[in-house]
């Protein structure tokens, strides 16, 4: 997950007092955030490497093992039970983690890159460019993401690539608004004026002077947005217009398990738990990243939890 280590000056070893504490030490002090980071790291690890160990376990059918409840008797495959075709639920969960993340991560990265670039550009230049960018953001934001997805998937076939595209476009305004607000505030600051006086081109000012300051906020928004994108993808797959069988995602697994709710609860319950665990972890971690990347607030993390005082409000632009 986004670690703020790149922003901590490592060469300034002359005075150890003024150096901010390492981010992993800070993380270790906050047990909740550390747990959330561990869960997320685990999910990513499973998503990246799980398929290497699976073989065909996620697709192998065995009708004699149909709807077997979770038990320890059948080794790794039977640990979390089987579905109606006798496929291992655990193996399918691991496989689905790969699919789910292979949609959420590219979507978040795309919207983060495009939204931030446009937002910084619009905020720095102001004027017509700013109002056009904001109007575009308004247009996209005033539509429920599912509605856009529904209409676009009506025209083009549902598939991983199209879902990534839709989710990325639907979330661009979130970054665009945040980045624009930051850039608009920064453009009149003294160091930006100084850079402009020396003849630095606009693109260099944006990359070298605005981006480093806006990045922590943008990364926090991205962490929160990761939850939103994951939830939307699951909803789409659940409704049957997202990931299509034989591929598998967590949302699709819930949909497939729904008919067997009365007889085999584990098929629908477990993937939902996996979604929830991941999204809650990302939310918790986002709150921590916000404190840890803000030089004015970071000291709070060195205090015991009780004395930290009121946390800052949730930025409204992350929600839609």
């Amino acid at each position: 997950m986004p670690a703020p280590d790149g922003r901590i000056p490592s060469g300034a070893a002359t005075s150890s007092r003024s150096r901010p504490p390492r981010w992993w030490l800070l993380l270790g002090r906050d047990r909740t955030a550390a747990a959330a980071a561990t869960v997320l790291a685990l999910v990513f690890l499973v998503a990246l490497s799980g398929r290497l160990f699976l073989g065909d376990r996620a697709v192998r059918q065995d009708l004699r093992a149909s709807l077997r409840p979770p038990s320890l008797d059948h080794g790794f495959s039977g640990l979390l039970g089987t579905d109606v075709l006798g496929r291992s639920v655990l193996a399918r969960l691991v496989d689905a983690a790969g699919t789910t993340l292979s949609i959420a991560v590219p979507a978040v990265l795309c919207s983060l890159l495009i939204g931030s670039a446009l937002g910084l550009w619009a905020g720095y230049h102001g004027g017509v460019r700013e109002s056009v960018a904001m109007r575009v953001a308004d247009v996209i934001l005033s539509f429920p993401s599912l509605l856009i997805a529904v209409v676009v998937l009506y025209v083009f076939a549902p598939g991983a690539m199209n879902i990534v595209l839709i989710l990325a476009v639907a979330r661009i305004p979130v970054y665009l608004r945040t980045a624009r607000a930051e850039a608009a505030e920064l453009r009149s600051r003294l160091f930006v004026d100084a850079a402009r006086t020396f003849g630095t081109p606009a693109s260099a000012i944006i990359v070298r002077h605005l981006l480093p300051i806006a990045l922590p906020t943008l990364l926090t928004v991205a962490t929160l947005d990761f939850c939103f994108v994951m939830l939307t993808e699951s909803s789409l797959s659940f409704l049957g217009i997202g990931i299509q069988p034989p591929e598998v995602s967590w949302g699709l697994m819930v949909a497939q398990g729904r008919q067997y709710l009365r007889t085999a609860w584990w098929i629908a319950v477990l993937p939902g738990l996996a979604i929830m665990l991941t999204t809650v972890s990302a939310t918790v971690l986002a709150a921590w990243v916000r404190l840890a990347t803000d030089p004015g607030q970071r000291w709070r993390l060195t205090l015991p939890r009780k004395r930290r005082g009121a946390r800052a409000a949730v930025p409204p632009e992350m929600i839609a």
């Binding site: 934001l141 939902g272 949730v314 929600i319």
Partner: protein
Amino acid sequence: MASFLRRRVVSSAIPLVFVVLGVFCLARLTGNPVDLYLPLSATSQQRAEFSAAHGFDDSLPVQLWDYLGNAARLDFGVSLRTGEPADAMVLEAFPITLQLAGMTMLLAVTGALLVGSLAAYRPQSAVDRLAGLLSMTAASIPDFWFAIMGVLVFGVALDWLPTSGTLGGPEVWVLPLATLLIRPFGVLVQVVRGSMVGALSAPYVKVARSKGAGALRVVFGHALRNAVTPVLTVAGDLAVGLVNGAVVVETIFGWPGIGKLMIDSILQRDFAVLQAAVLLTAVTIFALNILVDVCHALIDPRVRQAVPA
């Protein structure tokens, strides 16, 4: 106030224009409507007659003009599935979703104002941390999964509530409302709490306290009006997002609302109905945005005079 309203209507109408045009373009992107409506065995003469009868052989600007005229008269053609007029089907489904969404927003905002203010009154207290944990979880639960769990526990295991349908007493509302409510409620509690913490530490609250105002009066009489502006903005965004939830909830609980209508028409490629439903949703969102702006202006006098950015 009037000029403020006019400005807001104009700027909120831009997205609406885009949708109307977008729906028209999509209708052309989905392929030739003649292929969609006529059987494969139709002769080329039948195809030509059908095209001429429905104006598909006109030039694109003429088609666009016809489309705008028909949309203004709420004429979207007939459903491929049922043969009913599309607008009648959509208007029949619409009130159900509107009721559900209205109830949800009412409960979510009221509940969040109470819980959020309670949490903000003593930051970092046990109540605050409990509210923080609950709201964070509530905002992260996948709604379709929550609905299924509700059915499993209260419908199947305990047999307290019906698992689907709209017929019956008030108990049919419980599970759909709870499912739709959970995310807006979780998000709004966090927003109310954040903005209330800020308002409660402002100097005018100290003055009110030192003049002897009670806790209720300080929170709801003094701090609330200033704290409610961001809540209103987020609530508006969440109400737009409620369409997402309505699709899921109506599908799971079998409610004949506009969300289910949209999903059904997409799965069965019933374009006339989808078109009408998308347009009606867009118009509703347009009205909602105006309503939020008016509420902003009523609450905060500074908004009324502000020059648009």
